[in-house]
């Protein structure tokens, strides 16, 4: 990894962003086992406790799908297709295995396509439930124990509860550090751009937890030491909502139009970092509760409140909080085509966030820059509208 020195955190993040997976490749060369995973449901605490290097997989929005379509239908989520295409092309040839958490149909229904095509030494489909009642927590613990068992078999090493508890602490610390960096974005103008922040988020998900924490600390220190920007205090403050947006293209489109991206509710961003794992006597209990009850993703059904308004608060309350705390002027809801989980939430999210005081631009698009010009035009028109 690029050695972290004072003042080079953002440069290190930039390098890890542009050469995604480079650190995992280095660690693989040094004898470590590397496990790729998809989605915010990947239980990184357990992978860390197993001594493997977890890396969250991403695609490349600038690269057309050219090989994956020979194996996987074009009706599948464009993000999943793009990552699969990258894997088929060998971009992730350093992986020893993969974990596919059961997030959505696009992952669940293509599990066999992935595993039979890539033929990695280790494969696990983590059958995460869609509901959060008590039987589901018990079941989640069971399937996490099954997952632990398969990792033990693969690595040949027992994963102790103590190792899991230590990993929980390390990942909680990592989340706390990232939240501190997010806090800096509450200033006007924010001392870190949305583009820079995206590179940090992407870099962080490619590293072992301790290295990720060191990177975040270095970035935070560097950002804090920046002189207050002359900035454009009147520029609009935007929040981005969506699943795995992991490229700067859309953010550059927002910021080049004169706005600040000050917050997001993305599955690689705030969704990942806002809620910790509770320290519980059985560490798996805390992990089960965090991924099932605390993580706000649309494939986890929530609806226990007595009123519809209460249910919306349960599902999207964090977005309202962000609008207020980060003084958001407008939100962009960016949904991938063929995404049923997010697609069915659009009217509810739009009306909820608008009721919180932020007008919403809804965009449906591919995981690709091929339509970026159109997206940019829509964003510019939206910013003019809320000016």
């Amino acid at each position: 990894m690029t050695e972290l020195r004072d003042g080079n955190g953002l440069a290190a993040a930039e390098k890890l962003y542009t050469q995604y997976g480079s650190r995992a490749r280095e660690l693989k060369a040094s004898g470590k086992k590397v496990i790729g995973y998809l989605s915010a449901l990947g239980p990184v605490e357990i992978m860390t406790a197993a001594g493997v290097v977890p890396i969250r997989l991403k695609g490349n929005v600038s690269e057309a799908i050219s090989k994956g379509d020979a194996y996987m239908e074009s009706i599948v989520c464009p993000f999943v297709r793009n990552v699969f295409d990258a894997a088929v092309k060998g971009k992730y040839d350093f992986l020893d295995g993969m974990v596919l958490p059961h997030q959505c149909d696009s992952i669940d229904r293509t599990n066999e396509t992935w595993s039979y095509t890539l033929k990695l030494p280790y494969w696990h489909f983590l059958n995460v439930p869609h509901v959060t009642d008590d039987p589901s927590i018990t079941f989640m613990k069971e399937i996490l124990r099954i997952f632990i068992g398969t990792l033990e078999k693969f690595t040949g090493t027992k994963i102790t509860d103590e190792a899991i508890a230590n990993a929980v602490k390390a990942h909680n610390e990592n989340r706390k550090l990232m939240r501190e960096l997010y806090d800096l974005r509450k200033s006007n103008p924010p001392p870190i751009s949305g583009t820079e922040m995206m590179k940090v988020l992407v870099a962080a998900m490619s590293l072992p937890v301790d290295e990720s924490s060191a990177l975040i600390k270095a970035v935070t220190k560097e950002v804090k030491e920046r002189k207050p920007a002359a900035g454009k205090p009147a520029a609009k403050r935007i929040m981005l909502i969506g699943d795995q947006i992991d490229d700067v293209a859309v953010i550059e489109a927002i910021e080049s139009a004169g706005a600040y991206l000050v917050m997001e509710d993305l599955s690689i961003g705030a969704k990942m970092y806002w809620e910790d794992v509770d320290a519980t006597a059985d560490p798996v209990q805390g992990i089960a509760e965090r991924y099932l009850r605390k993580l706000k993703i649309p494939t986890t059904f929530v609806g226990s409140a007595d009123t519809y308004e209460g249910i919306l608060d349960e599902r999207f309350g964090q977005m309202k909080k962000y609008v207020n705390e980060f003084k958001v002027d407008g939100a962009i809801l960016f949904i991938y085509k063929y995404c049923d989980p997010y697609g069915f939430e659009v009217p509810a999210i739009k009306s909820y966030v608008e009721a919180a005081g932020a007008p919403v631009l809804y965009l449906e698009d591919e995981y690709s820059t091929s339509s970026l010009a159109r997206v940019k035009t829509r964003i510019e028109a939206f910013l003019e509208m809320i000016a």
Binding site: H102, F125, V131, I143, E345
Partner: protein, 443 residues
């Protein structure tokens, strides 16, 4: 499932009773209020049928209604209504068609819009969803609908089975899954008791479950008559005759329907009557929901001597004895075992053939048992649940059968804008040519 604009000739007279079944299910929701019954928006193959039937809850089947709209080529106005509130056209069109209808009904104060196919469906008192290993819309759809029917409670249960992994013996995990599914069904009962204000009659539930088991057995006995050459019934009919099993499970009417169908098929066999005359090629409908607006394509196949003696789609059951269910006095646990064992039924076979999968083993079993010469899949663009993974199934099948002709048709379940009849028939013609060459080669 339903009649389309131009009436489709059916090969069995029993199948002609199906529109009455479908219409009856829709009208039952409209009559429920005056009969003092509660209506639940529900989904097929969710394991909740017997609970609803035993509690006199009237199911409002959204998938059925959207299928009727599609078959009548009358879905576009509902799809557009949903689209007007930002539901994408790439989402499940069963859902968006139904949501569009629900939006219109809400605007009319709960009254079905004028001209709704077969009178439409009533506003539900509850919505029952289900998180599964397929079909996210089964819990996202009710959640989305609640945005327009805010006072209607939604309950989502979770019914899983062990995921396929060639390196894991799923039997080791069955108990965990059965326990979870049983507890989730118990939660469903509690929710239904709360909404209806009635307690579950457990003896009635047990009797309903027993009737379902009998119906599963009878269904398979009936469908296995289609192994006969020439086949007395093909998939064009099966897309209709699945209705009692799929939408009326746990009712005497469903059981009686298959008694009649079985008798008719036995008579056809005795009389030597087949679907196609002559029957040239036998093909399996290997996966995919049909285009409800284009069921006439089955007749196009039949007219060229191609029959479908078997299909995976809507064959949502298996002979109970083949599932080897552990004995239990708890009807919910019985449903859970039946669920887990049905979905994992082809796992052991897949484990014996390296490189295979349970879905492919099921297709192989049917190809062998029903003596098929080729396979047709249908890929519906708006449905990932049943249609993602088809390419992998087809490729695996090719590894086993090498030259087996395979056709993957593309379209949708509800949205007719995806359909071009001339192109579809051209593709079918080309497929039939490969069938002819394959059969000649096979001798």
């Amino acid at each position: 499932m339903a009649e389309e604009k131009k009436g489709r000739a059916v090969a069995t007279t029993t199948a002609a009773k199906i529109p009455k079944f479908v219409r009856g299910n829709l009208s039952a929701t409209l009559k429920a209020k005056e009969e003092g019954k509660k209506v639940a928006a529900a989904f097929i193959a969710d394991g909740q049928d017997e609970i609803m039937r035993a509690m006199d809850i009237v199911p409002a089947w959204g998938e059925s209604f959207s299928g009727v709209c599609a078959a009548k080529r009358d879905a576009e106005k509902y799809l557009q209504k949903a689209e007007s509130d930002n539901f994408s056209r790439s989402l499940c069109t069963y859902a968006t068609c139904n949501i569009g209808f629900d939006m219109m009904r809400e605007e009319l104060g709960g009254v079905a819009p004028e001209g709704a196919p077969w009178g439409g469906m009533a506003r539900p008192d509850m919505m029952l969803g289900n998180g599964q290993l397929l079909c996210d819309p089964r819990f996202k759809w009710p959640q989305a609908t609640q945005h327009y029917q805010r006072d209607v409670p939604v309950f989502v249960t979770n019914m899983y089975y062990p995921p396929w992994d060639p390196n894991v013996d799923h039997h080791d995990q069955e108990a965990i899954y059965v326990k979870y599914a049983t507890e989730e069904l118990r939660e469903t009962v509690k929710f239904c008791e709360k909404v209806t204000g009635k307690k579950m009659d457990w003896d009635r539930l047990a009797a309903t479950v027993e009737l379902s088991d009998k119906t599963w057995d009878l269904f398979i006995d009936t469908y296995e008559l289609r192994k006969h050459i020439p086949t007395p019934m093909d998939t064009g009919d099966a897309m209709n005759t699945m209705v009692p099993l799929t939408f009326n499970l746990g009712t005497q009417e469903a059981y009686d329907f298959y008694v009649d169908l079985k008798a008719e098929l036995e008579q056809k066999i005795a009389d030597g009557v087949g679907v196609a005359n002559p029957e040239k090629y036998r093909v399996i409908w290997a996966a995919g929901l049909p285009s409800w607006f284009a069921l006439g394509d089955f007749q196009y196949f039949n007219g060229k001597g191609v029959v479908f003696p078997v299909e995976v789609t809507y064959r949502g059951c298996e002979k109970i004895e083949r599932l080897d269910l552990p004995k239990t006095n708890d009807p919910l646990e019985h449903i859970a075992w039946r669920w887990v064992r049905y979905w994992t039924h082809w796992y052991d076979a897949a484990r014996k053939r390296p490189g295979s999968t349970p879905k492919v083993e099921r297709i192989i079993e049917y190809i062998e048992d029903y003596k098929c010469d080729g396979a047709v899949f249908h890929s519906a663009f708006s449905c990932r649940s049943w249609h993602a993974g088809i390419m992998q199934q087809a490729a695996t099948l090719k590894n086993v059968y090498k030259d087996l002709p395979i056709l993957i048709m593309e379209g949708d379940i509800v949205d007719i804008s995806s359909y071009n009849e001339a192109d579809t028939h051209n593709r079918i013609d080309a497929f039939i040519e490969t069938l002819a060459a394959y059969k000649k080669k096979q001798g």
